[in-house]
C-alpha cells in the first residue's frame, strides 16, 4: 500500500490504564478502567496543541490512518485528520479514544470485571455523556494535557464536546460541535428504542450473557444497524443512490422475500458488516447515553444557563439534509450560546447524504473547519 502524503500512515493504538476511581452518573463506581487510544502528531513543548476527537454511536479510537500496510480502510474520520487536512496533524496533537463501555478495547461489556473475574456483559454500568467526559478528563491528566486546544465531535461526539465545555470549562479553549443536538427528540428516542428492542428480543441475546452462551444477537444487532442507516440518509440520497432499482438485471419481480431491491441489499450489507465489528451490549448502552443526554435538565431546562459557565469558543456545524440531527437542532445550541454571551459561529452546510455528511469531505464543510482550526493552531502557537 502506498500511503498518501496527507495520511497519518500506519498507526498503533495503545491501552491507557487509569487507576483513579470514577463515580458514574448511575451511582456506581468504577475502581479503575482502561481506554484504547490513538494519537496523531506531536504534543508541543507548551502542551498547548492537543485536540480531542470524540466519537459517535458506533465509532472508536481509530479515527485516522491504517492499522497495517494491507489495511483496506482507513480510520472513520480519515477525510478530516492528517497532514494538511482540516484537523492538521502537523500542527495538532490529535487524541482519539474508544469510549468507556465501548467494544473496541476499552473497558466495557466485552472486557473482564476484575471483581468477578467474569465478562462484564450486561452488568457493565450504563454510562452517560457526562461519565465519558469525566473519563476523558482523566485521560487528559494521564497525557499531561491541562487544556485542549479544541474538542471536536460529530453527532453523539458533538454532545460530548458540549458536556466538556459545561463540566470542565477551563480545559477546553475551542469546542467544535458538529451535526449534534442539545438533547434528542421523542422521535430519536423512539428509533433508539426499536434498535434496543431488536437486540433485547433476539433469542440469541441470553439476557446479555450471549458470549458465555457461545452465541451473539446477530439478528437484533443487524436490524438495529439497518434501522440506523435509514435515519442517517436523506430521502433524496436514498432515491439517488438506490431508487427502485432491482438487483437482478431482468427487471422482473421474484415474488419472494429474498434480497430484491438495491436498497435492501445495501441495508443487509451494512447490517452484516456491523455485526462483525460491534457488540450488542455496547450498542444498548451507547443508545441509552444518547437518550439521557440533556445538559439543560440540571439548569431548569434552560440550555443557555448550562452554557453560562462555559468559556470555550464554539463552532457549530449542521448539514442541510440531515433529519436525524437537523439544522434546527443545531440552531437551538447556537441560540443558547448567543443567549449565554458565548462566542459562536455557525455554518449550515449544503449537503446530499444526511446525518452521515459529517464524515464526508464536503468542500465548504472542510473549508469552514480548516479556517476555524487554523486560528486555533495559531493561538496554540503550533
Amino acid at each position: 500500500m502506498a500511503v498518501a502524503a496527507d495520511s497519518v500512515g500506519v498507526v498503533t493504538p495503545r491501552k491507557v490504564a487509569i487507576a483513579t476511581p470514577l463515580l458514574l452518573a448511575c451511582g456506581r463506581v468504577l475502581p479503575g478502567f482502561e481506554l484504547m487510544v490513538e494519537t496523531y502528531g506531536v504534543l508541543n513543548a507548551a502542551r498547548s496543541n492537543a485536540v480531542l476527537i470524540c466519537h459517535a454511536l458506533s465509532g472508536d479510537h481509530h479515527a485516522a490512518g491504517y492499522h497495517s500496510a494491507d489495511d483496506r480502510k482507513p480510520g472513520w474520520w480519515d477525510s478530516a485528520i492528517g497532514p494538511g487536512k482540516p484537523i492538521d496533524t502537523t500542527k495538532f496533537f490529535v487524541v482519539c479514544l474508544n469510549n468507556l463501555g465501548g467494544c473496541r478495547g476499552s473497558t466495557g461489556p466485552t472486557t473482564i470485571n476484575p471483581e468477578t473475574g467474569a465478562l462484564w456483559g450486561p452488568d457493565f454500568p450504563i454510562v452517560t455523556v457526562r461519565d465519558w467526559v469525566a473519563s476523558q478528563a482523566l485521560l487528559a491528566d494521564h497525557l499531561g494535557i491541562d487544556a485542549w486546544a479544541a474538542v471536536i465531535g460529530g453527532s453523539l461526539g458533538g454532545m460530548q464536546v458540549m458536556q466538556w465545555t459545561i463540566d470542565c470549562p477551563n480545559r477546553v479553549r475551542h469546542a467544535l460541535v458538529i451535526a449534534a443536538a442539545p438533547r434528542i427528540s421523542a422521535q430519536n428516542i423512539a428509533f433508539n428504542e426499536i434498535a434496543r428492542q431488536a437486540i433485547l428480543s433476539d433469542p440469541d441475546f441470553h439476557g446479555g450473557r450471549y458470549i458465555e452462551a457461545g452465541a451473539k444477537p446477530e439478528r437484533g444487532l443487524k436490524l438495529a444497524r439497518m434501522l440506523g442507516h435509514i435515519t442517517y440518509l436523506s430521502d433524496t440520497a436514498m432515491r439517488a443512490r438506490f431508487g427502485r432499482m432491482l438487483r437482478d438485471g431482468d427487471g422482473q419481480y421474484n415474488f419472494n422475500y429474498d434480497v430484491e431491491f438495491e436498497v435492501e441489499s445495501y441495508l443487509r450489507h451494512q447490517g452484516n458488516s456491523f455485526v462483525d465489528r460491534f457488540d450488542g451490549n455496547t450498542y444498548l448502552l451507547m443508545t441509552k447515553a444518547l437518550d439521557y443526554f440533556d445538559p439543560a435538565r440540571e439548569y431548569g431546562d434552560d440550555l443557555a444557563s448550562a452554557f453560562r459557565t462555559a468559556t470555550a469558543k464554539f463552532l457549530v456545524v449542521s448539514f442541510s439534509v440531515d433529519w436525524r440531527f437537523s439544522p434546527a437542532r443545531s440552531r437551538e445550541i447556537v441560540n443558547a450560546l448567543i443567549a449565554a454571551g458565548r462566542d459562536v459561529s455557525y455554518a449550515r452546510i449544503d449537503s446530499q447524504l444526511g446525518h452521515d455528511d459529517f464524515l464526508m469531505p464536503i468542500p465548504q464543510y472542510h473549508a469552514v473547519l480548516r479556517n476555524y482550526l487554523d486560528r486555533v493552531a495559531a493561538e496554540a502557537g503550533s
Binding site: 463552532l315 440552531r331 447556537v334 441560540n335 448567543i338 443567549a339 454571551g341 462566542d343 459562536v344 459561529s345 455557525y346 455554518a347 449550515r348 449544503d350 465548504q364 473549508a367 469552514v368 479556517n371 476555524y372 487554523d374 486560528r375
Partner: protein, 201 residues
C-alpha cells in the same frame, strides 16, 4: 466587500456605544464587526447566508451565524442586542418592513442603510423612460438583487406610519460624503442613507 473599511461603516461605528452587543444582518465578510470589535470593544454576531462570506468571517475570527435574513429573526429573543445593524441589504429583502419591525424587537436600537431611489440620476433615467443605471445602482432591472427600492420620503413615511423614532440620520453621496446640496434637497442628492431607529418610549 472592500478590504479597507467602507466610509459608511466608519460612520456607523461612531453611532455605536463602546462595549455593546451587536447583531449585524448580512454581515458579508465581517468587516464592520471586525472594526467594531477593535475600535468599540463590541461583542457581536453577524448573520450571513453566503458560503464564501461565512468561511471568510470564520477565517477572520468573527462570530458568524449562517442564516437567511428573509427567514426572520424569530430565533432571537426580544431586546437581546443593543444594536441590530443592516447595511445595504434592506432593498434586497422580501419584506423590508417586517424585517425592520423584527430588528426593532430584537435590538434596543436599529441602524440601517439603503440607497436612495429618489436621487436625481434615478429620476432622470426614469424620465428618459428607463430603469436607472447609476453608480449606486449599477445592475439591470432583470438581474438586480434590489427588489424593494425606496426614496428618503418613502422611508420617512414608513417610519412615521409604523411609529418608529428616527434617532439619527446621515445622508451621503456615493463617495460617502455629506454636502450642501444634500442639506438643501436631501431626496434629490442623497445616494446612501443611514438611519438610527428605535421604538418610541
Amino acid at each position: 466587500m472592500s478590504v479597507s473599511l467602507r466610509p459608511d461603516l466608519a460612520l456607523i461605528s461612531n453611532w455605536i456605544a463602546p462595549g455593546s452587543r451587536i447583531l449585524d444582518l448580512g454581515c458579508g465578510d465581517g468587516a464592520l464587526l471586525a472594526h467594531l470589535a477593535k475600535t468599540r470593544q463590541v461583542r457581536g454576531y453577524g448573520l450571513e447566508i453566503d458560503d464564501d462570506n461565512v468561511a471568510a468571517c470564520i477565517d477572520a475570527g468573527i462570530n458568524v451565524i449562517q442564516a437567511d435574513v428573509d427567514d426572520g429573526l424569530a430565533e432571537f429573543a426580544d431586546r437581546s442586542f443593543d444594536y441590530v445593524v443592516m447595511t445595504q441589504a434592506l432593498q434586497a429583502l422580501v419584506r423590508p418592513d417586517q424585517v425592520l419591525a423584527e430588528m426593532l424587537r430584537v435590538g434596543r436600537e436599529v441602524i440601517v442603510t439603503f440607497p436612495n431611489f429618489g436621487h436625481w440620476r434615478v429620476r432622470v433615467a426614469l424620465l428618459g423612460g428607463h430603469m436607472p443605471h447609476t453608480p449606486a445602482l449599477p445592475a439591470n432591472w432583470y438581474d438586480t438583487e434590489n427588489i424593494h427600492l425606496c426614496t428618503l420620503a418613502d422611508f420617512d413615511a414608513l417610519c412615521r406610519d409604523a411609529n418608529w423614532q428616527v434617532l439619527e440620520r446621515a445622508l451621503l453621496d456615493r463617495s460617502h460624503r455629506t454636502g450642501a446640496s444634500i442639506r438643501v434637497a436631501p431626496n434629490l442628492f442623497c445616494e446612501i442613507a443611514l438611519y438610527k431607529l428605535r421604538l418610541p418610549g
